[in-house]
């Protein structure tokens, strides 16, 4: 990890994502990484583009009480891509990501990560993935540095290596000044960043981020972006959920659109966008919310007598 993520992120929003190149780059690295790597302490980054897909989901299904949160999802996400999972609030994004990362048991369905079943082969899966969930806490009574030290050692990394990586991550994520402050006193953006650092610490092949930009100020968002783009640039896979289309459009080269617990569309971003002028329009069309403008009933709002 070098310390200058700032060089990325200057391209215009409509330009085709640079990371397309990552697929071809990823191939030789993927071969060296292969299937047999266990323990997650390997130094090289990269995904297996030629190997199995990053994530393969079949018939995934989850019900909370009477409400069906995830209604039979089949989805294959390629390795080495920057992938956005988009959908309105309550679409089932968090539930899906929780089930894919092994934090929530599905009612039915199969999830494979890098060809390994999440529920049958947790050893192979847990060392390969990094997770930043939404709505779950961190160990907030540790300082930022202590939290990273704890997580890294729990992951089985040697202590010196953990401290070295933690220091670099804190620097890059602009948290070095608050590293000795308790996480409970962090702002939302700082929490997301320390969570991201904890997820990256063991250099996973696939990173799952649930709403990593939610409630984050523009400066922190740019920092997070820089780190993520550098990470995918080395051939690794990022899968993140969001409902900010502009962000997804500018970051991702692959999207999956979710609504009402189902996948409405998935594929390379250009294909999902189709003829629509922007991903936003394509998305609104897909989830069936087009043309629901402000009604006539607010005619008193603005101007005239109070």
């Amino acid at each position: 990890m070098a310390n200058e993520p700032e060089h990325i992120g200057q391209r215009s929003e409509s330009a085709p994502p640079e990371n397309g190149a990552a697929t071809s780059q990823g191939e030789p690295q993927g071969a060296s990484r292969g299937d047999a790597v266990q323990g997650g302490a390997t130094a090289a980054g990269g995904g297996a583009a030629a190997g199995p897909p990053a994530v393969r989901i079949q018939g995934l299904w989850k019900k909370f009480g009477d409400q069906i949160a995830v209604n039979g999802i089949d989805l294959t996400l390629p390795a080495g891509r920057f992938i956005g999972l988009v959908g309105p609030n309550g679409a089932g994004k968090t539930t899906t990501l929780s089930m894919v990362t092994g934090l929530l048991r599905p009612d039915a369905g199969v999830v494979e990560i890098g060809g390994h079943d999440v529920w049958r082969d947790p050893v192979a899966v847990k060392s390969r993935i990094g997770v930043l969930p939404e709505g779950l806490r961190l160990f907030e009574r540790l300082s930022g540095r202590e939290l990273l030290g704890y997580m890294g050692r729990l992951r089985g990394l040697p202590g010196d290596e953990v401290d070295k990586r933690a220091g670099q991550l804190l620097d890059v994520l602009d948290l070095a000044g608050s590293q000795n402050k308790l996480v409970v006193d962090y702002s939302t953006g700082m929490r997301k960043k320390i969570g991201l650092a904890a997820a990256l610490l063991h250099n996973p092949e696939i990173l799952f981020l649930d709403e990593p930009f939610e409630g984050v100020d523009p400066v922190s968002a740019q920092t997070i972006r820089g780190v993520l783009e550098r990470y995918t640039g080395s051939g690794a896979t990022v899968i993140f959920s969001s409902h900010v289309m502009e962000l997804v459009e500018s970051l991702c080269d692959w999207v999956a659109v979710m609504a009402g617990g189902r996948i409405r569309a998935d594929g390379p971003i250009a294909q999902v966008r189709g003829d629509a002028p922007s991903l936003q329009n394509a998305f609104l069309e897909l989830v069936g919310a087009q043309g629901r403008g402000a009604g006539q009933n607010l005619d008193w709002l603005g101007g005239g007598a109070r």
């Binding site: 847990k126 009574r141 704890y150």
Partner: protein
């Protein structure tokens, strides 16, 4: 369009009084709080009934004591205690009354002076004031004698209630900065501890006062308190009944002065709070005020074993100190574990067997280990992929407990042997204590895997709503099973006693220690694969609330 003409009327000439608005606000808050669930309504109604019964009982008791030689001191003392209660209540239950938080009114164009009257009126609604009125009325009736005293008594009762309520308001306003900050909320969680200690104090005091002529012990306290407002108003009633009108006027005047000072202070702090930046702004501008990497800590941390064990133990110890809930659980376990033998020896009926409380209470800390992590358990869960990982995690937690529990049990058992005796039983009880500790660690590990439940981090509750039965089952079932597991040791002890082999009782210490280690080990081994299998279920259970 037709409604438009009605709306834009100019600001009314005289602003309507705020008082009815705040009274309605208070009533709505009470009502809406009850509407949330029937359980809460029942709890509220039950607390009202209990409160009223208690108030009526206290009132009747006070009236029945009328004529007692020491009633004056008792009434004065009760008033003092009630006032103290009003002063500290907002510190420990900051969320108890939302209208107490003046920062919620900051955006409204309100003047402090009119606000104070309205807020004071609104805070006279509730169980607390009713309870206070009942108690003060009882006190006044108990000490009043004659028509003059009755008049003074009415004045005194009103003054005392007003002082209590405005004291609570003023304290809440003055400490709102503290209470809305993280440190303040941490402090509030520890409130339960003070209540527990206070209850013990009341318990001991009550037994002392219950003795014949116990009330005379109050005299010296009463002599001082009778000049401290608002208790001085109560003593004024007594003075008026005895014809000492000068003292009566002085007592009343002191309380009235206190009320005026309180209102003035309250108004001042209210103005400050409502016109200066709040803690969130100040904090954002602040610096990295955290703990610098403590070299001493690192030195000690280096002694911990490597791998998973050391980091987990270090995190547990940091949490025991920094997390208010965990700190409170530890303080309770250690405090109560000490208190049981001490109190029973003070009461004169102690045996050395009361020192079992030490290992029982500390062993129970092993229960619901993952609930203590709150939803941050996902961080642990995402690093556990084999039963071996789960075993190491559980073992590290058991180590941390044992690191505190074994020395503590040693000290308590030795102390009990020294003060209550006999020393001849020391080895036997010590060995049994260690066996019990091991059994509780074993069942605690298993209960953590099978019956996890959430511990809400805010407030005084230790179980999330709806999980009370799991918590009870886990703790109660665990204790039963834990006792069953230590029964072989108990059987051995009994056999040694009955077979008259007193010379061999010392073997209970080594046998108990070994048995404790083995049974704890067995418990961890049985629990570990269950933890590894049930990670999502545990995470779901501990993420509520």
């Amino acid at each position: 369009m037709s409604t438009r003409s009605a709306a834009p009327a100019a600001p009314p000439a005289a602003a309507p009084s705020l008082t009815p608005v705040f009274v309605r606000l208070k009533l709505s808050l009470l009502r809406n709080g009850l509407r949330q669930s029937t359980g809460r309504t029942l709890a509220y109604v039950a607390s009202v009934v209990v409160g009223l019964l208690f108030a009526a009982g206290a009132m009747a008791g006070l009236i029945a004591l009328r004529g007692n030689a020491h009633i004056g001191s008792l009434a004065v003392l009760l008033t003092g205690i009630v006032t103290l209660g009003w002063a500290v209540m907002p510190l420990f239950f900051p969320t108890g009354d939302e209208t107490l938080d003046p920062t919620r009114l900051v955006m409204l164009p309100l003047r402090p002076r009119s606000l104070i009257v309205s807020l004071l009126t609104a805070s006279l609604i509730g169980i607390g004031p009713v309870f206070t009125v009942a108690l003060v009325t009882g006190s006044v009736i108990a000490v009043a004698d004659g028509p003059v005293a009755a008049v003074v008594g009415v004045l005194a009762a009103i003054l005392v209630v007003l002082v209590c309520v405005s004291l609570a308001r003023a304290v809440a306003t003055a400490s709102v900065r503290l209470l809305t900050s993280r440190r303040g909320r941490d402090l509030a969680v520890l409130g339960g501890l003070f209540i527990a200690i206070g209850a013990q104090g009341v318990n001991i005091a009550a037994t002392k006062l219950g003795r014949p002529d116990g009330l005379s012990a109050l005299e010296p306290v009463g002599e001082v308190l009778r000049w401290v407002p608002p208790a001085s108003a109560i003593s004024a009633v007594q003075d008026a009944g005895q014809g000492a009108y000068g003292r009566a006027v002085a007592g009343l005047a002191l309380t009235a002065l206190a009320l005026a000072l309180l209102l003035w202070w309250w108004q001042r702090t209210l103005t400050t709070v409502m016109t200066s930046p709040d803690s969130s702004t100040l904090q954002a501008a602040g610096k990295d005020s955290g703990r610098s990497s403590q070299p001493g800590d690192r030195g000690l941390a280096r002694l911990l074993p490597g791998g998973r064990t050391g980091p987990v133990m270090l995190r547990m110890m940091r949490y025991a100190w920094r997390d208010p809930k965990t700190k409170m659980a530890w303080a309770m376990a250690i405090g109560v574990g000490l208190m049981v033998p001490v109190v029973s020896s003070l009461q004169g009926n102690g045996t050395i067997y009361t020192s079992f409380s030490a290992s029982a209470l500390l062993g129970m800390q092993m229960y619901n280990q993952f609930g203590q992590d709150t939803s941050a358990f996902w961080m642990v869960a995402s690093t556990i992929s084999t039963p071996r990982d789960a075993y190491l995690e559980l073992r590290a937690r058991a180590f941390t407990l044992a690191l505190v529990a074994v020395p503590f049990v040693t000290v308590v058992v030795a102390g009990t042997a020294a003060f209550i005796g006999p020393w001849s039983d020391f080895l036997e009880v010590y060995g049994l204590s260690l066996a019990l500790l091991g059994a509780l660690l074993a069942t605690g590990a298993l209960a953590s895997a099978l019956f996890p439940y959430s511990i809400p981090s805010e407030g005084n509750k230790n179980v999330a709503p709806g999980q009370g039965s799991i918590a009870w089952f886990s703790l109660f079932g665990g204790i039963v099973v834990g006792s069953l597991l230590s029964s072989p040791m108990l059987a051995l002890t009994l056999w040694l006693h009955l077979a008259d082999l007193h010379g061999l009782l010392w073997i209970l210490l080594p046998v108990g220690a070994v048995y404790g280690v083995l049974i704890a080990q067995l418990g961890l081994r049985v629990a570990a694969p269950r933890v590894a299998r049930r990670l999502p279920e545990i995470l779901q259970a501990v993420s509520k609330g």
